[in-house]
């Protein structure tokens, strides 16, 4: 994964600024910062060529805590600034840090368009299903029924599915990870470092203050194996504490099956194909949700395509 051996001596610490993060103790952002800086060190791209562009929100404070170039822009507008940076200097590796409100409420259009153009930008969407910085209003990903400061009687909107949107928009690298699994975050970020084109990584992130435990049912250590599905290109879709379950496609419908029951073997299972030009499977995977299905993590799609600019 190391692209540039010359600067490979940089460590994670080198990518941290001397500014103390001002997130709430226990906020998921800390863990993401950790993985990102680790991946920066892994990538071996010199510091001066990494640029982290953010919008406004708790998550968007992240650039201050890295030692790369950074731009803390306006609410929802990070992709536009990132675009100008990349078009001006294509040598730079440009990351976008955004929140669910930032990227999907006010910034939804820019998010969609940078992906449509397959611009060579990497967006990380810190999805805590809430507006953190403004102290707890509903966001476009807040689950129905959630009581927040702006929905005292519960959310009634249908939430946006970030991965579906990214696929429909045409991002060429689409993934989902979470703040409780640094190894997975780093593996995905490392692959993203190398990707040419629009990267979209949804990162489930726990907001301890305004929506604590939102993802525990799929991210907590003890639930993780049975409630989530790790997508790996070329591998059958297996999950479960004992890797005893899998996903099959029965007449166009995805279904959960027990391996070994009703004559099902590993060979009957759907095999993940992240490199397919056709997004149909990825689209269907993006619709899977716990409890009917395991919640998928990993890389949904990764294809090469001409890059904008």
């Amino acid at each position: 994964m190391i692209a540039n051996l010359a600067s490979s001596e940089l460590t994670r610490q080198d990518f941290l600024s001397n500014c103390d993060p001002r997130w709430c103790p226990g906020c998921g952002c800390f863990s993401i910062l950790r993985s990102l800086t680790t991946s920066f060190a892994n990538a071996g791209i010199p510091k001066e060529r990494q640029v982290v562009v953010s919008g406004i929100g708790c998550s968007s404070r992240l650039p201050y805590y890295t030692s790369a170039y950074g731009f803390h822009t306006l609410h929802g507008r990070a992709p536009t600034v990132a675009m100008g940076i990349k078009l001006t200097n294509p040598e730079l590796s440009v990351w976008i840090v955004s929140g669910d409100g930032d990227a999907l409420a006010i910034g939804g259009n820019h998010t969609m368009h940078f992906m449509r153009r397959n611009s060579d930008l990497k967006m990380m969407l810190f999805n805590n299903q809430i507006y953190g910085l403004t102290k707890g209003q509903a966001s476009p990903t807040s689950p129905p029924g959630l009581k927040t400061k702006s929905t005292p009687y519960g959310v009634t909107d249908n939430p946006v599915r970030p991965v579906s949107l990214a696929l429909a928009s045409g991002a060429t690298f689409v993934a989902r990870v979470h703040d409780k699994d640094n190894a997975m975050m780093e593996a995905v970020m490392d692959e993203a470092q190398q990707h040419k084109g629009a990267v979209f990584i949804e990162i489930l992130m726990n907001c301890v203050t305004f929506h604590d435990g939102a993802f525990d049912h799929v991210t907590a250590k003890k639930e993780r194996d049975s409630h989530s599905l790790q997508l790996k290109h070329g591998e059958p879709m297996i999950f479960g504490q004992e890797r005893e379950k899998g996903i099959i496609d029965r007449q166009g419908q995805l279904q959960v099956v027990e391996i070994g029951q009703s004559g099902i073997t590993e060979r009957d299972l759907l095999v993940h194909d992240a490199y397919s030009e056709d997004t149909a499977l990825a689209h269907r995977l993006a619709l899977l949700e716990y409890p009917d299905f395991p919640f998928p993590f990993g890389i949904f799609r990764k294809v090469d395509a001409p890059v904008y600019g």
Binding site: F71, T80, G84, I85, L87, T88, N89, L92
Partner: protein, 624 residues
């Protein structure tokens, strides 16, 4: 081409001081081409020329209707030509609708040439004529020449192998030929141009030459006019006879300035834009250029357009955007980010009539206050305004220079009138242009993103990719020298003053605007932007008529040049003329406590010279 442009046998010509002529017809009639060609010819023989097209409304109206009329107005003459003319000496009307919609502009006794073949009942009805103006008495105040241009052209092209429809397309060349005889222009230049333009379609080239000749000969032989008219040439202006001499609109001039400035500065050019009338051509001119140092990004909206521009500035480009009023309204939040992040940006705002969507195809000067104040918080930036099409070059270039020198966004105000009107011009050579020095920071040792140049108060430009200068910028208030985020109240106050001071300081580097007219007059007329030509001509006429008037025209609207207050205070009466409800007037009053009075016109069209004179005289009477 130059050697052929000798004036032809002049002996029997009458001399005219100047000529205002308009070609008009249906959108499909080739009016724009004909008009432009006549303008270029006039310029090449050494006349001063200003042009103004008249496009049909945005959405196409059916052929033959008033809505579908296309026009092209040319004013040509000597040094005192500063506008495209208020009234027409000559109208060439290729159909009834074009006659109807332009008649009011023709001078009493002016010449009207019509193509009578188009005055069918159907076309008359489409133009809302009850009876034909050629037979009733409605044109009795004019010198009307009704010619069978269609028939004459067809007759001439008989046997050319062209279809009837194709022949009809040549009829504008007949008109051009006739006019080029009446106001003599060198034939050979027309031939050469035709041959070049229709190089791949020689039948058309032949036909158009033929039609042109037929028109010319018709003038010579039909004896409609006693003799041709010779037009007075420029005396002070140097006329460029090289092929670099071209007609340029304000929008094209602005685009050209961006390229020149970027190249002079040694920077890549980046323009992030979104189409909007009347600014779109700035972007489109640049899109035509296929060069690695010119990047144009058509964004999904104005916010993305300026966002990308801010990003490009951060990354080290000469970064620009072009828009019009409603777009500028959307850009305020981002312009503000550039103000606090102190990044160089050129924002070209081509004004149109507001508020809201307003009259998108009409001109106005009503975005000055928006440019000055349309952002939250104290958000100072320089504002320049172009006064002529080619001044769009100068002001845009100057904006780029100031932006980089002071690390600030700069707004250039143009307007619909300048965007479309054109004058002869040639792009300056690199060495003629003012220097735009760029000093990217490179020294990591002791680097502080907000440590300032003592003189300009500009902060260093430290672009991503430079080792050791990694830093974070953004919209939160900055500590005054490290540029880190600071919530400290006193630091904030310091920064608010510092940003204001940085812009205010520019004043001392600005030249005082020249005083036109009579500098010893007691009345001072002040203008800005595209009204320059009318105001100047009004001033000159008034002084000629014995009414002493001084006139200054501001290009720098924020800050004003140092010493402006003193210059203005010398006059006992100050009158500001603008196409709005008094925005500059308010600024002058607030800053200088001068009882400036307003001459306002908000009709979507520029002042005519007569209007200015009339209103100014009224004011002078009132006060005396």
């Amino acid at each position: 081409m130059t050697e052929t442009l000798q004036p032809i046998n002049e002996t029997k010509h009458q001399l005219l001081d100047e000529l205002t002529i308009k070609f008009a017809g249906d959108s499909g009639d080739g009016i724009q081409l004909t008009g432009q060609r006549f303008a270029e010819l006039s310029s090449q023989v050494g006349e001063v020329v200003r042009t103004m097209p008249d496009f049909p409304a945005e959405i196409r109206a059916p052929a033959g209707t008033i809505g579908g009329v296309s026009g092209f107005q040319i004013r040509t003459g000597s040094d005192n030509v500063h506008t495209h003319g208020d009234r027409l000496d000559v109208l060439v009307a290729m159909n009834p609708a074009s006659l109807k919609s332009n008649l009011a502009k023709v001078k009493r006794n002016g010449i009207i040439l019509v193509n009578q073949d188009t005055f069918s009942e159907r076309n008359l009805a489409l133009a809302d004529y009850q009876t034909s103006p050629l037979v009733d008495e409605s044109l009795q105040d004019y010198r009307v020449f009704a010619l069978s241009i269609t028939k004459l052209t067809r007759a001439a092209l008989k046997g050319s192998g062209l279809s009837g429809k194709e022949m009809d397309r040549a009829k504008n060349f007949f008109a051009l030929g006739l006019i080029c005889w009446l106001f003599p222009k060198p034939k050979t230049a027309v031939y050469q141009w035709i041959d070049k333009k229709f190089a791949t379609k020689t039948v058309f080239a032949q036909a158009n030459r033929k039609a042109f000749d037929t028109g010319w000969n018709y003038g010579e032989t039909a004896e409609l006019f006693a003799t041709p008219y010779e037009i007075k040439k420029a005396t002070k202006l140097k006329v460029d006879h090289t092929s670099k001499n071209q007609f340029i609109t304000g929008n094209a001039a602005a685009a050209s300035a961006l390229v020149c400035a970027a190249r002079k500065a040694g920077l890549p050019l980046f323009l992030g834009g979104y189409p909007i009338t009347p600014a779109t051509e700035v972007m489109q001119e640049l899109l035509k250029i296929k060069a690695p140092d010119v990047k144009v990004f058509q964004a999904e909206d104005e916010i993305a357009a300026i966002g990308s521009t801010v990003g490009a500035a951060f990354a080290g480009a000469l970064a620009a955007t072009s828009t019009s009023g409603p777009g500028l309204a959307l850009m305020g939040e981002f312009i503000n980010l550039a103000v606090i992040a102190e990044l160089p940006l050129v924002i070209i705002n081509v004004q149109r009539a507001g508020p809201s969507t307003g009259l998108p195809t009409k001109t106005e000067q009503s975005d000055l206050m928006q440019a000055l104040w349309g952002r939250n918080g104290e958000s100072p930036l320089p504002i320049l305004a172009a006064k002529t099409p080619q001044d769009c070059f100068n002001m845009t270039y100057e904006a780029a220079r100031l932006a980089i020198h002071y690390m600030t966004p700069v707004i250039v105000l143009s307007d619909l009138y300048l965007s479309a009107s054109a004058e002869a011009w040639h792009e300056p050579e690199q060495q003629e242009l003012a220097e735009i020095p760029v000093h990217f920071a490179t020294q990591a040792e002791g680097f502080k993103p907000y440590q300032r140049n003592d003189d300009t108060l500009a902060r260093p430009w430290a672009i991503p990719g430079t080792p050791g200068l990694e830093h974070i910028t953004g919209g939160l208030e900055k500590q005054w020298d490290t540029g880190g985020v600071s919530y400290d109240g006193e630091n904030h106050e310091r920064m608010v003053h510092l940003r204001a001071q940085k812009i205010a300081n520019i004043a001392k580097t600005l030249p005082l605007p020249p005083v036109y007219g009579n500098p010893n007059a007691s009345v001072l007329l002040i203008g800005w932007g595209s009204t320059f030509g009318s105001l100047l001509e009004a001033t000159e006429q008034m002084n000629q008529q014995g009414d002493a008037v001084a006139f200054i025209h501001l290009q720098h609207l924020n800050p004003f040049p140092k010493g402006l207050a003193e210059s203005i205070r010398q006059y006992s009466k100050v009158v500001v003329a603008e196409n709005n409800l008094g925005q500059l007037c308010q600024m002058l009053r607030a800053q200088f406590l001068i009882d400036a009075q307003l001459i306002s016109k908000v009709q979507g069209s520029p002042f005519t010279v007569d209007e200015v004179i009339l209103k100014l005289k009224l004011m002078m009477e009132k006060s005396s």
